[in-house]
């Protein structure tokens, strides 16, 4: 800590900060552009100038850039000094010289950092009267719109895109007042994190194209604190809605999870919420009748469904890892625990249980995304993180860069001095080792890569464990070069202060997970302060595994054996999990198939009854992320306000109403909190979820929290097409949020649940700094969510022992290839794949083959390959992989028309003869 005097007042600040951080953390407004809490200081914009005095007797002082000036104890600073004030106003004036007068038509207007800073510095009259320079704009793909004329050359875009996120196709070109930020030529931005440019850019150069297609000003949107459902990372989001449509998703700051950044799936994959083909009404299908589906009133739907379920011999409920704990629990209550399936395929469910045991019994804690950044050696087994849990890949990049920060720190270069760190460290990184089936977008930061089949990756991992701890089972027949690589890694692990092991579900390999466990256990045994990150596949996979329940295979078998004749499927497409034939055969035996979902999945299309469920935008619930963090997402809007006939409700509401209708009793659960509490009471492992967020009675100064900014306009007019009578605003009994601009929206009172970032004078995402204990730190009220899984203190003595079922070496055949799943951020996930912009970024399905196999088979780039796996036959275009090993082919998983049961199997290949 250090004492500094700012404009005559004395403050205690963190001595490791720079002056700008210190001032902002104190809540003092100093304008800035090029500095960013996650990107550090480079001193280019000169906007944050303040006066620094030699001592308390110095009256002249000199201007310094606060972002580039370290804290000195007992120093004297002035923000309000006349020269500093004038200088800052001049800087904005210079920046505004070429900035167009297009705020009224600019998508950034109303959440623009440049607007905020212009107002803050008091620059209100343009003296520049000459011509402005102009630029050509580029096509950057379906996500990001480019308008270079607005650029103020703060360099943040390239610093984020290249330095922070590892992108290579965005750069800065030109010089003097003709610097250009863009690609070498028009084209889709390749990075999985391109959407962050829209928030990193302080003005409207990079804006959200998906938002532009149905644009609404920030102040006219209605928001809620939400959790991304796109993968298991658990990123916090802030979706904005108007007229019953989600209009955009922005990052919501969580100091322990995503901080300032999201991946593009999470930001741009919301389109499924708005799709016209969504079920919005309860539907009854009578296959015997000729006519189309019958829509039902809510009461009729409940009565007729209850009647059919009552008639059934046995009802089995199939839950879902993409639905909330509350909805899954409501289903379990409806059908009884003995009839409840998690909806997860048996192998995956087994691995999820294994993951849970690993997290408790390896002895190593699992880090938050933020904590991942603070590891100094990382081994990734099997996961192509950039495609399966992208935000974690971004954290991993920061862990690697931590090597540079640490090295420079030994040289007394402070951690905020970004450019100096990079100049000094010259790309030095903490070691990251990637063992994956094919090349990944983290290979560029890897000190070493290993590419092999899933079993080989497991053997590689077992080898590391054995080399680290002689008592761990050894692999025996590892190749010499692999052994050398293993020895290198072990050396690195032993020297590491905080090693991290990462594995996950994506290769669907028990062996890979077990190998990761053995490494973790060996790391723990060696007394190293390590951590373990495990990545399940879906938003609530962890939660479902903790809730418990049978596998989907079990449910399907029960139907096939005619042990049950009615199914209630919750937000789950069974065809994505098990072979179509098995699902079809099972469902043929089901007399009543009730599907509660928000998306017209193939399962939904087979249903006898469909009840329209809420997406994250229309309902609340709790999810458990990969780190075991229970987090609540909240309803963004009430669809029935805009569409009075809309019957969309949270699945738990439907299922509970159905339950009480069947039992002919009154509804018990009228509020989310009741359900959450029931879950917590019923499942000890989930007892903590009550504290994942404040309950519905939470108030600040007697007020609920406003979902809309106070400038929100048009409320009395927005339903005028339906009726000129303005109804009462929907009342939210489930949460502490109000469907209104009325309510608390300030930063003064600490709160965790923040629908949108705003503070007086701070309309852009930079307003998050106003909610934090220190800029870039944690929210003052604590970061949202609660962690449910901590390692068992006695795991050494009680926990799992080393696994010894090591797979045997890969067998190469001349006529057979093992099929491994490959993943795509855009395309592999079910719901986001229904968003049009994501579809534009999704490649066509393909078969990937290693270069050596391509040569042996005499294939070329333009080849199409016929793949026979079991009874499936696929004709796919070839993609040549530089790293896929011989005897292995990669096929994207989760894509339409790619069967689910080909992965891990052996395929025969045939080149399609071209005419």
């Amino acid at each position: 800590m250090a004492t500094i005097h700012i404009d005559g007042k004395e403050y205690e600040v963190d001595g490791a900060d720079n002056l700008l951080q210190a001032c902002l953390s104190l809540g003092l407004d100093v304008p800035y552009f090029c500095w960013h809490p996650s990107l550090g200081s480079v001193g280019s914009c000169r906007q944050c100038a303040v006066k620094q005095y030699r001592d308390k007797d110095d009256t002249r002082g000199r201007l310094v850039m606060s972002c580039m000036t370290g804290i000195q104890d007992d120093s004297y600073i002035s923000i309000e000094d006349d020269e500093a004030v004038k200088f800052r106003a001049s800087i904005v004036e210079y920046l505004m010289r070429n900035h167009p007068h297009d705020c009224p038509v600019c998508a950034e207007g109303g959440h623009c950092h440049l607007q905020d800073m212009t107002v803050m510095t008091g620059h209100s009259k343009r003296r520049y009267r000459q011509e402005k320079r102009t630029h050509q704009n580029q096509y950057l793909g379906p996500f990001v719109k480019h308008e270079m004329n607005r650029c103020i050359a703060c360099y943040r875009c390239v610093r984020f895109y290249k330095d922070y996120a590892g992108g290579t196709d965005l750069g800065v070109y030109g010089a003097h007042d003709n610097v250009y930020f863009g690609r070498a030529k028009d084209g889709v931005l390749e990075s999985e994190f391109s959407g962050n440019l829209t928030e990193v850019c302080p003005t409207g150069v990079f804006t959200d194209k998906t938002h532009g297609d149905h644009y609404t000003r920030k102040w006219d949107l209605q928001f809620a604190p939400s959790i991304c459902h796109g993968c298991s990372s658990g990123c916090n989001t802030s979706p904005g809605e108007r007229y019953g449509e989600v209009r955009r998703i922005e990052n919501r700051y969580n100091g322990q999870v995503n901080q300032y950044f999201l991946c593009d799936r999470g930001r741009f994959g919301y389109g499924y919420v708005n799709n016209a083909d969504r079920p919005r009404l309860a539907l009854l299908r009578d296959p015997s009748a000729e006519e189309a589906d019958i829509t039902l009133s809510v009461d009729a739907a409940l009565d007729r469904t209850a009647e059919r379920l009552k008639r059934a011999r046995r009802v089995i409920g199939i839950g879902s890892p993409r639905a909330s704990l509350e909805s899954n629990f409501a289903l379990r209550e409806l059908v009884g625990a003995e009839n409840f399936s998690t909806g997860i395929e048996a192998g995956e469910l087994e691995r999820l249980h294994l993951m849970q045991r690993m997290l408790r019994e390896s002895g190593l804690p699992t880090p938050s995304q933020r904590e991942i950044e603070h590891h100094d050696a990382v081994i990734v087994l099997g996961e192509d993180l950039t495609q399966t849990a992208a935000r974690i890949a971004l954290s991993l990049r920061q862990a690697a860069r931590g090597g540079a920060v640490e090295l420079a720190g030994q040289y007394k270069i402070p951690d905020w001095n970004a450019a100096a760190i990079d100049n000094y460290a010259q790309g030095y990184k903490h070691p990251v080792f990637m063992a994956t089936v094919t090349e990944t977008k983290l290979d560029d930061i890897a000190r070493g890569t290993y590419h092999g089949s899933p079993d080989e990756i497991a053997r590689f991992g077992f080898g590391i464990a054995a080399a680290l701890d002689a008592s761990a089972p050894s692999v025996g027949d590892l190749d010499d070069d692999v052994q050398r690589q293993v020895a290198d890694i072990v050396q690195v692990l032993k020297n590491a202060k905080r090693p991290l092991i990462i594995a996950g579900e994506s290769l669907r390999s028990n062996a890979v997970l077990k190998a990761a466990f053995n490494i973790a256990k060996a790391v723990k045994g060696a007394g190293l302060n390590g951590s373990l990150t495990l990545v399940p596949s879906e938003a609530n996979s962890m939660g479902l595994a903790m809730l418990g329940g049978e596998s989907l295979d079990w449910a399907i078998k029960e139907f096939a054996r005619e042990e049950a004749d009615a199914a209630v499927v919750l937000e789950n497409d069974l065809y994505r999990r098990l072979p179509a034939k098995r699902v079809d055969e099972a469902l043929d035996n089901v007399d009543t198939l009730l599907v509660v979902d928000h998306t017209p999945t193939p399962t939904c299309l087979r249903a006898d009854i469909v009840l329209p469920a809420a997406t994250f935008a229309e309902g609340d619930g709790t999810l458990v992320s990969q780190e075991g963090r229970a987090q609540r997402f909240f309803q963004v809007y009430d669809p029935s306000y805009y569409r009075p006939n809309d019957q969309t409700h949270e699945a738990w509401r439907w299922l509970h109403a159905l339950h009480t209708t069947i039992e002919d009793r009154k509804v018990d659960w009228t509020q989310l909190d009741q359900v959450t509490l029931e879950v917590a009471n019923a499942v000890p492992a989930l007892a903590g979820i009550v504290d994942a967020a404040p309950n519905a009675s939470f108030r600040i100064k007697g007020q609920k929290i406003a979902r809309s900014p106070h400038r929100s306009s048009g409320r009395t007019a927005m339903r005028a097409n339906l009726s000129v009578v303005e109804p009462r605003q929907p009342q939210d009994k489930d949460s502490m949020l109000a469907f209104s601009m009325e309510g608390y929206n300030g930063t003064h009172e600490p709160r965790q649940q923040i629908p949108f970032a705003w503070s007086p004078g701070w309309n852009s995402p930079q307003a998050w700094n106003k909610f934090q204990d220190e800029v870039g730190g944690s929210l003052r009220a604590g970061d949202p969510g609660i962690r449910l899984i901590e390692p068992d203190a006695d795991s050494d003595t009680r926990g799992l022992g080393y696994f010894s079922d090591i797979p045997s070496a890969f067998q190469l055949y001349h006529d057979r290839w093992q099929v491994v799943p490959l993943y795509h951020l855009h395309g592999s996930e079910e719901t986001s794949a229904r968003a049009k912009p994501v579809q534009e970024r999704t490649p066509d399905a393909y078969i990937a083959l290693g270069a050596a196999d391509v040569e042996t088979l005499g294939l070329d780039r333009a080849s199409k390959v016929r793949v026979r796996v079991g009874k499936h036959e696929l004709l796919l275009p070839l993609r040549i992989s530089s790293q896929l090993r011989r005897g292995v082919i990669g096929i994207p998983r989760g894509f339409e028309n790619i069967p689910v049961d080909i992965f891990g199997e052996w395929a025969r290949l045939e080149q399609e003869v071209r005419a």
Binding site: R46, S90, I91, Y94, R129
Partner: protein, 460 residues
């Protein structure tokens, strides 16, 4: 056999330096030069006492002693800023656990009206190489690069040829003079940006990055090229070192005129409408009048001196009344100005100060790297205002606006020294020749108010 063909005749740096009277005792930089400017390569250089300074430094002194001697001799940077080279050297990180770094020669001579380093490199490349060997020894550098202005093709050829000669003679490479000291150097030609003369931008450019300057601290001596301790010195600075090593500090201190705090000699020049424009090696402390009148022959065609810039486009406009100023840093310090490179530009009374400064600011605005706001956006605005004033289209308030830009782009307010150097001439031009600016301002009665000029009101 060298694959490089040196340029032995027709060098355009042939000039007054080759014809002025000069002696080893008084002209350490130019006494060896041939009257016909034919370059001095290894044999001739050695025959003229070449590499004796390096030999003494490496065989008789420790690196710290070399740095101390250079510091005591008071060799100041000759690139325009005048930072004491010995002080810079003493700040270079050396010692156990610290990697050996780089010695960079700043040969990116792009200051408008500055043409001294080219002469040294074209005609006397070994003098620079010898200076670099000594500097490398003092700073524990293991590699040297001469970062050479790309257009200097003759200098590049002769330097490369001389480097090969030196390497073949064991003066570069391993175990120089049998001392165990290793050092090698390479010529790297730049792609032509003024900003590359800024030492940290030079480092970035050398690393293959955009030529943006770096923030200091850390200074290059701590973390420079490729993160290693790095020293960047100007060509002429390094060329002064061998003679100091060979002849001693006392001799060096005797070279300058009385009243000069700078020691030694300086390559000085005078251009503009003078009778005999040129470049001369002259003692520090000589007056500008002597350079103009005794060496450059005074103003030509009966023109009268109105103003002069003492050392490059980045130095102040001084009125003719300052012509008796001593050419040394303290001489200019007394009037809160800078000597710069000491290659002066004379402006006669037919010169429009507004036009000259507009021309200079156009160059500077164009050469801004685009990194920091006052430079990137302030300089071009000044150009637009100056163009308006030059055309008689200036508006009331424009001069004050220019003065604001002068302040905002001044020392400490920008990321590097380019903008302060670029804008200080403008400040001095307004200070001394304000009436010429005022003449370009249209009277307020004709000037439309901003509202009345708004196109949508149909009045524009």
């Amino acid at each position: 056999m060298s694959l490089i063909t040196p340029v032995t005749s027709g060098l355009t740096s042939l000039g007054t330096c080759n014809s002025m009277p000069r002696a080893p005792e008084t002209h350490p930089l130019t006494w060896r030069l041939n009257d016909d400017a034919s370059p001095i390569f290894l044999d001739e250089y050695r025959s003229k006492n070449g590499y004796e300074g390096a030999r003494r430094a490496l065989t008789e002194l420790t690196p710290d002693q070399v740095a101390a001697e250079v510091k005591e001799a008071g060799i100041k940077g000759r690139g325009g800023a005048g930072f004491p080279a010995g002080v810079k050297w003493s700040l270079t990180m050396k010692g156990e656990g610290i990697p050996r770094g780089y010695l960079l020669c700043n040969a990116d001579e792009m200051e408008p009206n500055t043409y001294k380093d080219r002469m040294l490199m074209e005609q006397q490349p070994h003098l620079l190489i010898e200076g670099m060997i000594i500097a490398a020894y003092a700073n524990n550098s293991y590699r040297g690069y001469i970062f050479l202005r790309g257009e200097y093709v003759h200098a590049a050829a002769n330097l490369r040829y001389a480097v090969e000669e030196a390497r073949a003679a064991g003066l570069l490479g391993k175990d120089i003079f049998g001392t165990g000291f290793d050092f090698d150097l390479f010529v790297h030609t730049g792609a032509g940006r003024y900003i590359c003369g800024e030492e940290t931008a030079l480092i970035n450019s050398l690393e293959g990055k955009r030529a943006n300057p770096r923030a200091k601290p850390p200074f290059p001596g701590q973390s420079g090229a490729w993160g290693k301790p790095t020293v960047v010195n100007n060509v002429e600075t390094l060329c002064n070192v061998p003679a100091v090593m060979a002849n001693g500090i006392e001799w060096f201190h005797g070279l300058c005129r009385e009243g000069s705090e700078d020691h030694g000699t300086k390559l000085m020049g005078f251009t503009g409408k003078v009778r005999n424009p040129g470049l001369w090696e002259l003692p520090f402390g000589i007056t500008a009048r002597e350079v103009l009148e005794d060496y450059a022959g005074g103003m030509r065609d009966g023109l009268k001196l109105k103003a002069f810039q003492p050392g490059g486009a980045g130095t102040d406009f001084l009125p003719a009344s300052n012509i008796d100023i001593q050419m040394c840093s303290n001489g200019f310090g007394a009037i809160r100005s800078r000597m710069g490179t000491a290659l002066a530009l004379a402006m006669d009374e037919t010169c429009s100060i507004v036009s000259v400064i507009r021309n200079i600011e156009e160059f500077m605005a164009h050469e801004s790297c685009g990194w920091c706001t006052p430079c990137r956006d302030g300089l071009p605005w000044s150009v637009k205002l100056l163009r308006a004033i030059e055309a008689g289209e200036g508006r009331p308030g424009d001069i004050e606006l220019l003065e604001e830009i002068v302040h905002n782009a001044g020392p400490g307010n920008t990321f590097c020294a380019l903008a302060p150097g670029a804008i200080s001439p403008l400040g001095s031009a307004i200070r001394y020749f304000r009436d010429e600016f005022e003449a370009g301002i249209r009277s307020s009665s004709v000037q439309a108010s901003p509202a009345a000029a708004h196109p949508s009101l149909g009045t524009a």
